[in-house]
């Protein structure tokens, strides 16, 4: 028996109707580690992340968090999601709420923090991402990069133990990507446990402890970034990385 990892995914299968999207995923994430999922569009990265915080139900397999089984019928999903934050490609901020209210909604309604305490914490987090001045703004008054930074803060305000990031820079104009990745880099340095899907290969190479190449619902190859990017053994990983290099993304 291998020692227990912090987040463990074992034999995970997931279908949408007849379309089997995840076909037996085994993956573990150690505490304070960053694991990057790479792979072609449609290979199942988002689905995998959504399964981890129970936005999708799984058909087979098991997900464990800190030794606790957090998949299957009867799981307290609201409880699980307090520990597992997620940030989406399209930000998904609440458009009718100011930035500050977006961030304090969870702490106030779930952790039952007082408004004052929640707002103080939110402002502190906003300060860290350089957006304290935007606390009173509405999401549509912010640039994409600013919205995504707010979305990260919204997830962080719940004090998650794991953060899932689903291609959080894919919807951004190129010049805004750096400001968002900078924050993720800081989080990694602080020891935040993260599982992220990304197309930013150089970023994955820089921050990841482990890179997983996902292909048609299975992890074909995983290992430290130097090996996956430097000497991939799987022909399909090689082909994928080759396409990325040709597109000028690595």
């Amino acid at each position: 028996m291998s020692p227990i990892s912090f987040l463990e995914i074992e034999g995970l299968r997931k279908s949408y109707g007849a379309n089997e999207v995840l076909r037996g995923i085994d993956l573990s994430v150690e505490q304070h580690q960053v694991v990057c999922l790479i792979g072609a569009s449609g290979c199942g990265k988002s689905t995998l992340l959504r399964c981890v915080n129970a936005l999708e139900t799984i058909d087979e397999g098991q997900i464990r968090l800190d030794g606790d089984v957090v998949s299957g019928e009867g799981t307290d999903v609201d409880r699980l999601r307090r520990d597992v934050g997620i940030v989406f490609q399209a930000f998904n901020l609440f458009p009718h709420m100011r930035v500050l209210d977006n961030i304090t909604l969870g702490p106030r309604r779930i952790h039952r923090h007082s408004r004052a305490a929640a707002e103080a914490q939110a402002l502190e987090l906003l300060e860290r991402v350089g957006l304290a001045a935007k606390a009173g703004a509405y999401p549509d008054q912010l640039s994409g990069g600013q919205q995504q930074r707010v979305a990260i803060v919204r997830a962080l305000a719940m004090n998650p133990r794991v953060l899932l990031l689903d291609e959080i820079t894919s919807a951004l104009d190129p010049e805004l990507v750096a400001e968002v990745l900078g924050i993720v880099r800081d989080l990694a340095a602080e020891g935040m446990t993260m599982l992220l899907a990304t197309h930013e290969m150089s970023f994955a190479r820089e921050v990841a402890h482990t890179v997983c190449f996902l292909h048609e619902g299975v992890i074909l190859e995983q290992g430290p970034p130097e090996r996956i990017f430097g000497a991939p053994t799987e022909p399909r990983t090689q082909a994928f990385l080759h396409r990325i290099v040709e597109a000028g993304r690595l």
Binding site: D78, H96, R109
Partner: protein, 364 residues
């Protein structure tokens, strides 16, 4: 290189001169002015020979005839542009030719459009004058209006009361039904089913029948509390039942129009389904459904006249009393005018909201 003399061209011209259109506009305008003039004369002839009413009709006739003369202006304008276009042709300025012809055609079109509208409006006056102006005296008899308007307007206060109270209740009840219809999970399914039955039933049954059944049926049935309702409250109850079903569907459409990613974002924070509805989904949905909601409310306000069938004394009931006592419908016309008066500002307001929404969406 020798410079080639640059001569502007206007190849993208539509070519038509617009003479024909101007001639048509002139003929149509002449006919319209004639028609209005004849009608004005008949109007004066039809007016009673004495009293203030005579002067009013005379003034209307004279003003109408004078206004009809204004119809000549766009025709003159079309003619003028035709002349300008010919002058531009003479000095070989094709861009100016095209522009002036375009303006001439537009002036001619304006003339024709104005005439069509005027003719239709004049036909209405002709209709009023028909059968020795019997139509006018049946629907618009000044003495009947004077006699009834104050009582009818007071009774209209009852319509306003019924409408406002019913709307406030419908606002909450409709939302409750919508949320019931969308209730999730195994426990929610039977509730959703029941809500669907209610909505389907009350959207199918005409409001007047619901009012009749509630107003006469409940007292007969002798149910405690419900049976002792005054006709006014019975009317409110019936309208809430009917419009609750419509408004629930409006809310549901609004809720379903919120992108699922909003639900995912809220749930992923750990918010429960009810909290997500309350803090994230419903507030956004309500903003979206305000215009269709107000449209339903305009319908509700109009349907307050239906409560006359259970003898609630409101404006229509009051007006009918006058109408049957004097064999004249002018008091009912007063009710109609009151409804027009309260509805038009609301429809304009809704149109304004929709236009603002449209601009906002286009600004994206």
């Amino acid at each position: 290189m020798t410079a080639v003399e640059a001569r502007p061209t206007a190849r993208s011209t539509t070519g038509r001169s617009g003479h024909g259109l101007t001639v048509v506009a002139a003929v149509v305008t002449a006919a319209t002015v004639l028609f209005v003039g004849i009608t004005a004369v008949r109007l004066v002839q039809a007016a009673p020979r004495s009293g203030g009413w005579h002067w009013v009709l005379l003034a209307v006739a004279v003003l109408g005839a004078l206004a009809a003369l204004l119809l000549v202006l766009p025709v003159l304008s079309a003619v003028r542009y035709g002349r300008l276009a010919r002058a531009a042709e003479a000095r070989e300025d094709p861009v100016a030719v095209r522009r002036d012809r375009f303006r001439g055609r537009n002036a001619a079109r304006l003339a024709i459009g104005l005439c069509v509208a005027t003719v239709i409006a004049t036909f209405f006056v002709v209709f009023l004058l028909a059968n020795d102006h019997a139509v006018q005296s049946t629907f618009f008899a000044p003495d009947m209006v004077a006699r009834s308007w104050w009582d009818v307007t007071k009774a209209f206060g009852k319509n306003v009361f019924i409408a406002v109270v019913a709307e406030v209740i419908v606002l909450a009840w409709g939302l409750l039904v919508a949320l019931a219809r969308l209730a999730p999970g195994p426990g929610g399914r039977p509730i959703a089913w029941l809500a669907t039955v209610y909505i389907d039933a009350f959207r199918a049954v005409p409001a007047i029948i619901v009012i009749y059944l509630v107003g006469f049926g409940l007292p007969l049935a002798g149910v405690p509390v419900l049976s002792s309702m005054s006709p006014t409250w019975a009317a409110i109850f019936a309208l809430v039942l009917t419009y609750g079903a419509y408004v629930a569907e409006v809310y549901r459409a609004g809720i379903e129009s919120i992108h699922p990613s909003q639900m995912a974002a809220a749930r992923s924070l750990g918010l429960s389904y009810p909290s997500t509805m309350r803090f994230v989904i419903v507030p956004q949905a309500v903003r979206r459904v305000i215009p269709p909601l107000l449209n339903d409310f305009i319908g509700l306000q109009k349907d307050t006249a239906l409560v006359t069938v259970i003898g609630t004394v409101e404006a229509f009931t009051q007006a009918k009393t006058y109408a049957s006592n004097f064999f004249n419908l002018s008091s009912v016309t007063v009710v109609a005018a009151l409804f027009v008066l309260i509805t038009i500002p609301q429809t304009r307001f809704v149109d304004g909201l929709l236009a603002r929404e449209q601009r906002r969406l286009q600004a994206r």
